[in-house]
């Protein structure tokens, strides 16, 4: 098997705003989405917890060889890392997205100042807790935004938009970093 190529080869890691925002890629080897049938959601969660050791949104989960899962819709879950993905058809379904997503890790003092220019969310500490993952549009395209720690943010973006989104973040930070 060849190495999986990243659409951001040669582009990341990168830093913006005079070094106060750093973006690096941390795409795990496996990513998938699982959905439960009506009435089987608790079962699906138990299965995912069992697979991942109940790992969820944390900086370990997004480190190399990390794993975890998070609920991203009423009965939909995003999972990543070296997890099994064969789900009992009686519980729900799982679709491999290992090549369809790219994971970006954002760190630095001004990450939030950048993110409030990219997504329409309330990112104040009181509104966006550590350990959460939400879906939100980034320039009108749905992405996942997670906050593993107080200072670390994770964006999970579609592969075909990954380069454009990094360019967009650069463009947006260009404007405000000179203010």
């Amino acid at each position: 098997m060849p190495d999986r190529q990243s659409p951001l080869e040669g582009v990341l890691p990168v830093s913006f705003c005079q070094g106060t925002v750093c973006i690096a890629e941390a795409t795990p080897s496996m990513m998938a989405e699982a959905q439960a049938w009506d009435g089987h959601q608790a079962e699906l969660e138990r299965t995912l917890s069992h697979w991942s050791g109940a790992a969820t949104v944390s900086s370990e989960a997004f480190a190399e060889k990390g794993m975890g899962f998070a609920q991203i819709g009423p009965s939909r879950y995003f999972l990543w890392g070296a997890l099994p993905t064969e789900l009992d058809m009686g519980v729900g379904t799982c679709v491999d997205l290992s090549h369809a997503r790219v994971v970006l890790v954002l760190t630095g003092d001004h990450v939030r100042d950048l993110l409030v220019r990219a997504v329409p969310l309330d990112l104040r500490d009181c509104a966006f807790d550590v350990g959460h993952m939400v879906s939100t549009p980034l320039h009108h395209i749905p992405v996942l935004l997670a906050r593993p720690t107080l200072t670390q943010w994770v964006l999970i973006v579609p592969r075909s938009y990954a380069r454009s989104m990094v360019d967009h973040l650069q463009h947006v930070s260009d404007v405000f970093s000179t203010a």
Binding site: G73, P74, P120, S135, P137, H140, P142
Partner: protein
Amino acid sequence: MRIRCPFCGERGLEEFSPKGDAAPTRPALSNKDPEAWHSFVHLRENPKGQHREYFQHSGGCRAWLIVTRDTRTHNILDVTLARQEKR
């Protein structure tokens, strides 16, 4: 306008895509009466006041919602997951 998605919380209107009136009931696919289908596909009430309508949270969790909105004021009175509506 802000809509409170039952899963994602309150989000701006730009994250949602409207589809229209949630009231009409789809005829069974075995129903061959064109009038029944014409009514379902084309005919709509246009109330001044509360209106139950479909929105998809297309910029977020992609769940389909039933939003009860007052057409006079845009006030949103209720939002539920369409999937959980009793049939």
